[in-house]
C-alpha cells in the first residue's frame, strides 16, 4: 500500500495552505487557503482509513466536508459584509482595533 505518497501530497497541500493564510491578505484567497488545509486533512483521513482498513476516517472526512461548507458560507457572508461597508476585501485596510 502506497501510504507515503498520499501523506506527502497532503503535507505539501497543508504547507501551501498555511503559507497562504499567513502571506495573503485578500479575504477570498484566505478562505481558499483554509480550504486547502481542510482538503489536506481529508486526503490524510481517507489514506489512513484505506491503510488501516477502518471506516472511521472516511466517515470523519465526510463530516469535515459538510462542516467546512457551513464554515465557508459564514466566511463568505462576513467578507461580503466587509465589502458592503468598506468597498474592499483587502484585510490590510481593516485595522481599526488595536492598542
Amino acid at each position: 500500500m502506497l501510504l507515503n505518497q498520499f501523506l506527502l501530497l497532503s503535507a505539501v497541500l497543508f504547507s501551501i495552505g498555511v503559507y497562504g493564510v499567513l502571506a495573503r491578505r485578500n479575504g477570498v484567497l484566505l478562505l481558499m487557503s483554509i480550504e486547502l488545509i481542510l482538503n489536506a486533512v481529508n486526503i490524510n483521513l481517507v489514506a489512513f482509513a484505506a491503510f488501516t482498513g477502518t471506516i472511521g476516517g472516511e466517515v470523519f472526512a465526510l463530516f469535515v466536508i459538510a462542516v467546512a461548507a457551513a464554515e465557508v458560507g459564514v466566511g463568505l457572508a462576513m467578507v461580503l459584509l466587509l465589502y458592503r461597508s468598506s468597498r474592499t476585501i483587502d484585510l490590510t485596510t481593516v485595522d481599526r482595533l488595536r492598542g
Binding site: 486533512v41 490524510n44 477502518t54 472511521g56 476516517g57 457551513a70 462576513m78 482595533l97
Partner: protein, 502 residues
C-alpha cells in the same frame, strides 16, 4: 478494506434518551425561538429573551435528574459519555449562558438589531458546548467544536452596521477556522496512528509505544495548538483583545467564559483520555503555554486604557493559571486527578467572577457609552453599589481571600507544589510573581473607581435594570460563597477522567 463494512446490515444503536435529555430540551428551546419568530414576527420580540432564559432553566432539569441518578452513561461505544465531569461542565455552560441572556436582555433590544436570531444562535452555541462536555471521539469533538464556534463568529459580527464589529467578526472567524483546520490535521495524524477515532482507543494505542514517534508528537502539538487558540493562551492569543473590543459586550462575556471553558473541556478530555501516556510531549507544551500566557497577559494588561481590552488581557493571564496544573499532570492517577480538579475548580470560579466583572462593565457603559478606563473614574460617587460589586470581582480575580478567586489560585499552586518536580516549582514562582503584577492593575482600576473624580462631573445615577441586577446577584453570591466555603465547589469539582480512560 473499509468499504466492506457498508454491506453489513445496519443495526440501530441503543440510545439512552435520558442521557440525551439536556441536549434535546436545548434543541427544542432553540427551535421554539425560531418558530415563534416566524409565526408572530414583531409581536414576539419582547418575549424572546425570556423564552431563551426559560429554555436554559428547563435544560437544567434533566441535568439535575441525571446528577441525582448518578450512573455513568456510555453511548455509541464510548463516543458520547455522560459522567460527573461532563455534568459539572454542562451545568457551568448552562449557568454561564443564562447569565449572558440576562446581560443581553436590554443590550440587544436597545441596539435595534435582530433579537430572535441572536438568542437562537446563542442557544445553538451553547448546544455545541453541552455536546463538547460529553464528546469522547474525534468526530464528535470536531462537530461540537464547530457547532459552538460558527454561531459565535456570527454573534461577534452582530452589530453589522458597525465596522468595528465586522472587523472583530472577520478576525475571529479567520483565526478560528485556521486554528480548527490545523487541529484537524493533527487529529488526522492521530487517527492514522491509532486506526480509530475513539479517544480511548487512541489512548491505548499511544500507551503501547516506547517513545513518541514524530507523527504522534506532531499530532499532539497541532491539537493542543488548536485548542490553545480557543482558550486564548499566548502565543495564540492575538485575536482576543481585538475581538473582545469589537464584539457586543454580552457576547464578549460569553466568549471569555463559556467559549474558553469549552476549549478547556476539550483539552482536558484529550489530555486525560487520549494523550495521557505521552506526558513527555504535552507537559513541556503546557508549561510554555502557561508561563507565556501569564506573563504576556499581565504585562500587556498594565498599559491598557480600555476596560474591555484590560479584561481580555486579564483573561489571557487567567488562562495561564488554568493551564498551569496540566504542566505537571502526567505522573499517575492521583496527581492527574488533582490537576483535573484544580482546572475545573478554576473554570467554575473564574466563570462567576469574570461574568460578574463584565456585568458591571455593561451596566456602567450604558451610561457613558464607552468602555474607556477614564469613564470609570469616581464611579463610587454615582454608582456606589456597582463599585462595591466591581471591587469584589476584581479582588477575586486577583486572588485575595475570602473571595472565590483565592481558592482557585490556591488549588493551582497546591498541584504545582505537590508534584515535587523542579519544573513545577519554577512554574509556581512564575505564577506567584504574576499574581503580584495582576494585583497592581486590578487594584488600580478599583482605586480609580473609589478615589478619583468623575471626568465629566456628571453625577446622575446609573440605571440598573432588573436583569442586570439578577446577574450581578447571582455572580456575587457564587463568588463569595465559593471563597468563604471552598468545600462547596470542591464537592462538585472532585471529578476524574483517568478512571475511564484507563
Amino acid at each position: 478494506m473499509g468499504l466492506d463494512l457498508l454491506t453489513l446490515a445496519f443495526e440501530r444503536p441503543a440510545i439512552d434518551w435520558h442521557a440525551f435529555a439536556p441536549e434535546l430540551v436545548l434543541l427544542a428551546a432553540g427551535c421554539l425561538i425560531t418558530l415563534v419568530d416566524i409565526v408572530f414576527l414583531e409581536k414576539a420580540r419582547p418575549y424572546t429573551a425570556a423564552l431563551a432564559g426559560i429554555g436554559l432553566l428547563a435544560t437544567a432539569v434533566p441535568l439535575l435528574t441525571l446528577a441525582v441518578d448518578g450512573t455513568e452513561r456510555v453511548m455509541f461505544d464510548g463516543a458520547y459519555v455522560v459522567d460527573e465531569f461532563s455534568l459539572v461542565m454542562k451545568a457551568l455552560f448552562l449557568l454561564a449562558g443564562y447569565v449572558v441572556v440576562l446581560l443581553s436582555t436590554n443590550y440587544v433590544a436597545e441596539g435595534d438589531y435582530w433579537e430572535n436570531e441572536y438568542y437562537g444562535l446563542l442557544l445553538a452555541s451553547l448546544m455545541g458546548m453541552v455536546m463538547m462536555a460529553s464528546a469522547r471521539d474525534l468526530v464528535s469533538i470536531f462537530v461540537a467544536l464547530e457547532l459552538l464556534s460558527i454561531p459565535a463568529y456570527l454573534l461577534v459580527a452582530w452589530r453589522k452596521r458597525d465596522l468595528h464589529s465586522t472587523e472583530a467578526g472577520l478576525k475571529y472567524y479567520l483565526m478560528g477556522v485556521f486554528a480548527s483546520a490545523v487541529m484537524l490535521y493533527g487529529m488526522s495524524l492521530l487517527y492514522g496512528v491509532a486506526g480509530s477515532t475513539m479517544l480511548a482507543d487512541i489512548g491505548t494505542s499511544l500507551a503501547g509505544m516506547e517513545t513518541s514517534p514524530a507523527v504522534v508528537t506532531m499530532g499532539i502539538v497541532f491539537v493542543v495548538a488548536g485548542f490553545a487558540f480557543k482558550v486564548s493562551a499566548a502565543p495564540f492569543h492575538t485575536w482576543a483583545p481585538d475581538v473582545y473590543e469589537g464584539a457586543p459586550t454580552p457576547v464578549t462575556a460569553f466568549l471569555s467564559v463559556a467559549s474558553k471553558a469549552s476549549g478547556f473541556v476539550a483539552l482536558l478530555v484529550f489530555v486525560f483520555v487520549g494523550f495521557y501516556a505521552r506526558s513527555e510531549v504535552w507537559e513541556p507544551l503546557f508549561w510554555i503555554l502557561a508561563a507565556l500566557s501569564m506573563t504576556v497577559g499581565n504585562l500587556v494588561a498594565l498599559r491598557q486604557t480600555n476596560v474591555v481590552r484590560l479584561m481580555a488581557y486579564s483573561g489571557i493571564a487567567q488562562t495561564g493559571f488554568m493551564i498551569a496544573p496540566l504542566a505537571v499532570a502526567g505522573h499517575g492517577v492521583v496527581n492527574g486527578d488533582q490537576a483535573l480538579s484544580a482546572v475545573v475548580t478554576y473554570l467554575v470560579i473564574y466563570a462567576a467572577m469574570n461574568l460578574g466583572a463584565f456585568t458591571v462593565v455593561i451596566a456602567l457603559a450604558r451610561r457613558s457609552g464607552s468602555a474607556e478606563l477614564t469613564s470609570f473614574n469616581g464611579a463610587f460617587q454615582f454608582a456606589p453599589g456597582l463599585t462595591v460589586a466591581m471591587s469584589v470581582f476584581l479582588f477575586s480575580l486577583a486572588g485575595i481571600p475570602p473571595l472565590g478567586g483565592w481558592f482557585a489560585k490556591f488549588e493551582v499552586f497546591r498541584v504545582l507544589a505537590t508534584a515535587g518536580e523542579p519544573w513545577g516549582y519554577a512554574l509556581a514562582i512564575v505564577g506567584a510573581v504574576n499574581s503580584v503584577v495582576a494585583l497592581y492593575y486590578y487594584a488600580s482600576l478599583a482605586r480609580r473607581m473609589w478615589a478619583d473624580d468623575p471626568v465629566d462631573g456628571d453625577l446622575g445615577p446609573v440605571p440598573v435594570t432588573p436583569s442586570i441586577m439578577s446577574a450581578l446577584t447571582l455572580c456575587g453570591i457564587v463568588t463569595l460563597a465559593f471563597g468563604v466555603a471552598p468545600q462547596l465547589v470542591a464537592r462538585f469539582t472532585d471529578v476524574s477522567l483517568l478512571a475511564f480512560g484507563g
